[in-house]
Subunit: 210 residues, 2 copies
DNA sequence: CCTTAAGTGGAAGAAAAATTCAACTTGGAA
DNA sequence: TTCCAAGTTGAATTTTTCTTCCACTTAAGG
């Protein structure tokens, strides 16, 4: 099926790694919208090199973040194994946000959808059932109100992430306070009402700007 | 002090209003980053006209949103008159968000800082003491936990606004659910801990992208 | 009417990012 | 060593958005 493309020449592989490291660092502080020119300049290569290796921005994002996304999926799996469902949920959300605090780019990716579509979509597909299971258990245990859905968990994620992005420069720890608010909100809000099954997680991890 | 600049010629005033209406509509659905070219084209004027009238983007934003911002300040003042402080806070936040739901541009403005600085800053200066008063009263009445600050209210605003922006297209009412979560969170979170006085509201209504 | 200062349109220039490409290197197989 | 496919470079081109400018039009006072 998939042709095995021959390994890169040594110098090419070196440049590839260099570009990836540089791009990751730049995106960690400035977000996903770093220009190819900036990356190439910071890595000390020519424009041509980055374009040859990553013709589409998606190619770059995939290479950059796929392992990190796997890490987050791991977290979800670990969380799903918690006996205490609520503890699992809070632990998962906090770990995930700590990772995003270290890399703005990864945060933007995890909370968007039209950036590296396949990658993020796959991650959501893997994690949603796990989160749904935890939530169901937490509801049964009386730790979450009836009517809580994975979308509510996603909402909490988006909410805290938004505060994080807004206050990164001036108050890098403020998101923890927002997290406390969001978590307390999940436990105590009346979530029985509307927006039942038709509220898919996708509605949140969705349309970025345009 | 301020020179009274002569009134515009009739046709010019007509164009000015046309541009303002057009810009408002475009920004209501697409956000603040609409290009001058798009606005001019939609209004049926030339580029020169919009640049003559609004040489800086700030000039346009000021003219566009100052009255709407005054409306929001009004809301804060009304809220401050509530006997029930918590009812005042929730009413204010919900009204404000309803306005933002109708205009994405206004929402971005109210939750940013580096867009139309003077305008928004003045609004925050007016509203913060009012909100602070409500919060203090609510804490005294046992409606909010000790340690709650205006920054927490701002955080709730940013959090729900973030969900709103993320789900505008696909689930335009989802923010109401996020609002319930945020409000329940404010009431039930432990807010006594860190981030006391040094957490100014500015830290939240702050650095946009760059 | 006429005049003219104010206003207008839209092409042209400038700036920034995305993308291409032809001439020039270089790793590594033979 | 030699050779050449793979790799690199950076200038040139395209694209997009921002901004300026000037020849042309028009409102409104005399």
């Amino acid at each position: 099926m998939a042709e095995i493309d021959p390994p890169l020449r040594r110098d090419a592989e070196r440049n590839r790694q260099l570009l990836l490291r540089t791009a990751y660092d730049l995106m960690a502080s400035a977000g996903l919208d770093v220009s190819y020119e900036d990356i190439a300049r910071a890595a000390g290569t020519g424009m041509g090199t980055i374009y040859r290796r990553f013709p589409q921005r998606q190619d770059l994002l995939d290479a950059l973040f796929s392992e990190h996304i796997d890490t987050v999926i791991d977290l979800a799996e670990q969380a799903a194994r918690y006996d205490d469902a609520w503890a699992g949920l809070t632990w998962f959300l906090e770990r995930q946000l700590e990772i995003e605090a270290k890399s703005r780019g990864l945060g933007e990716l995890l909370r968007s959808r039209n950036q590296a579509t396949a990658l993020v979509q796959r991650a959501h597909e893997r994690m949603t059932p796990l989160v749904a299971g935890l939530i169901a258990r937490a509801v049964r245990a009386g730790q979450l109100p009836a009517g809580a859905t994975p979308a509510d968990f996603a909402a909490a994620h988006v909410m805290v992430g938004g505060v994080m992005d807004a206050s990164r420069a001036s108050a890098p720890q403020l998101w923890r306070r927002a997290l406390r608010i969001a978590l307390a909100g999940l436990r105590h809000a009346d979530l029985s009402g509307d927006s039942p099954d038709d509220v898919v997680i996708d509605h949140l991890y969705n349309d970025q700007k345009n």
